[in-house]
């Protein structure tokens, strides 16, 4: 059970952290894309 809990926790926490990070990258790039460089 412990192994399964660890597996689910790895998926859940990393999905949340990386999801937020990639969304931030998308937003930052969208903002600076208007500048043309």
């Amino acid at each position: 059970m412990d192994e399964f809990q660890v597996f689910v926790a790895v998926l859940a926490i990393n999905a949340c952290v990386l999801g937020v990070a990639l969304f931030a990258v998308y937003q930052f790039n969208k903002v600076v894309s208007r500048c043309g460089r």
């Binding site: 926790a9 990258v25 903002v31 460089r37």
Partner: protein, 467 residues
């Protein structure tokens, strides 16, 4: 918390650090103003040299008052106080001369409309002399007997170097933050873009300095409690480290918001009012948290500043730090954050490698501005790793900071690597580097240093499990 000092010793502890650390920061800003020929920065710095010099008055009187009180304490070395007094007087004299020359130059430059060589060479020169004398005056050891501890138990004792380093390092984010906020407010009021950039850089540096400050603080906790030192309470240390954790978050938020705005500024050459307001908000809140953190830190080893009616903490396991420690000792929480840490490294090294190799001469077919966008990935990697690394360290801080030989170099490499990467997001020459052009030699040296630093972080981090 009592912000208004109730004794000479308390006033001396509070005021005494501002001339030394403040002078270094104002000097750094002033040199920046000279290099960029920004009159607003130069005038503000000349005014601040004078204001810092005014602090010599409360510093002197509080020092004399402290000496009168402490000389009745048999555990305080009178010889050490005399040495501190002698060099301290010389330092204050140099500080006063620096301030007078700076204010005369400020008045003269206002009248003539241009700066003279006095401003260019004499003021910074005098400031360097004053700082050097302040370093020699070093009064910390008067009351911190643990720094002279000769008791060492193998595999138990932590080096007294850690408390010493922590005492010096913690003033970089704290005093630095006060000056960064002062410059920032002046910059916003006078609408000086150069000074705004300078203060944002200082916020980022304070944020970076927060990491080694927090880590050396943890090492100091073990140095003062294992083996225990009489008169030092682990509960008081615990209250300080709980607040220090919030300070680390505050420094992180302010530094991150400042860096993001510096990065965005590159593309538009003007600041976003919303972002600047956000940085100001974070900075004010963080300064409040750091003030409380500093006060709790001072209570650890300064019984002379405690008030009779003040209640000291009694529970060494109360608060957020102990709760996180318990949580992170469980593998269900530790392993996911370790995986986040590895993802963070991938983002940092991947983006740093691409940017540094372009500067070193690889992929000349792309402009620097094209790879500059990748820096945001590395920045997010740093945020992920500071947060996950802090959580992982709390799981077994004694092993990391005391028993692992590669932890200290790893933290040093992180600090060096992060400050060096800042150069990539600031350099005008690099930003204007077009496709096919070669980067300046200085930029190549920084790029090589960045690669060495981040490779060192990876190697030292991996070796933690074995050395």
């Amino acid at each position: 918390m009592h912000l208004i000092p109730q004794s000479w010793s308390h006033l001396h502890i509070l005021v005494g650090v501002f001339p030394s650390f403040g002078l270094v920061i104002v000097l750094g800003f002033y040199i920046g103003g000279l290099l960029t020929d920004n009159n607003g920065i130069k005038r503000t710095c000349l005014a601040l040299f004078g204001l810092v010099a005014l602090l010599s008055v409360p510093t002197y009187f509080s020092g004399a008052g402290s000496m009168a009180v402490l000389s009745r304490n048999p555990s305080i070395s009178k010889d050490m106080m005399s040495i501190h007094y002698g060099w301290g007087m010389a330092a204050l004299l140099a500080l006063v001369v620096t301030g007078i020359v700076a204010w005369v130059e400020l008045w003269r430059a206002g009248r003539d409309g241009r700066a003279s060589n006095v401003a260019r060479y004499l003021v910074p020169g005098l400031a360097v002399v004053a700082v050097a004398l302040m370093v020699v005056a070093d009064g910390w050891e008067i009351n911190h007997r643990e720094l002279r501890s000769t008791v060492s138990i193998p595999d138990v004792s932590t080096s007294p170097v850690w408390p010493h380093v922590h005492m010096i390092l913690n003033h970089v984010p704290t005093v630095g933050f006060v000056f960064a906020l002062a410059f920032y407010i002046v910059a916003l009021v006078t609408k000086n873009d150069g000074m705004t950039r300078g203060s944002l850089i200082l916020f980022v540096i304070c944020g970076i300095a927060g990491v080694p400050t927090y880590v050396t603080g943890t090492a100091s906790m073990w140095a003062l409690t294992q083996p225990p030192i009489p008169e030092i309470s682990k509960a008081v240390i615990n209250a300080h480290r709980n607040m220090a954790l919030w300070s680390l978050f505050g420094l992180g938020f302010t530094g991150a918001a400042a860096w993001a705005e510096l990065w965005r500024y590159r593309y538009f050459a003007h600041f976003s009012k919303l972002s600047l307001t956000l940085v100001l908000l974070f900075a004010v809140v963080t300064l409040g948290i750091m003030t409380e953190t500093g006060h709790l830190g001072g209570q650890i080893n300064h019984p002379e500043i405690r008030l009779a009616a003040e209640m000291l903490p009694t529970d060494a396991n109360a608060g957020i730090s102990s709760a996180l420690e318990t949580l992170m000792k469980n593998v269900v929480w530790f392993i996911p954050w370790q995986v986040v840490h590895f993802f963070g490294y991938c983002l940092i090294l991947g983006s740093v490698l691409a940017v540094a190799l372009r500067v070193l001469g690889f992929w000349k077919s792309v402009s620097f501005a094209a790879v500059h966008r990748l820096l945001i990935l590395g920045f997010l990697g740093v945020l992920m790793n500071v947060f996950s690394g802090m959580l992982m360290m709390l799981a077994d801080s004694y092993r990391y900071v005391v028993n692992d030989y590669t932890f200290a170099p790893k933290i040093a490499f992180i600090t060096i690597g992060a400050v060096a990467v800042l150069y990539f997001s600031l350099s005008d020459r690099l930003w204007n580097l077009k496709a096919g052009e070669d980067a300046p030699v200085a930029a190549k040296c920084v790029a090589a240093g960045v690669l060495v630093a981040w490779t060192g972080v990876i190697v030292c981090g991996r070796m933690l499990a074995y050395l």
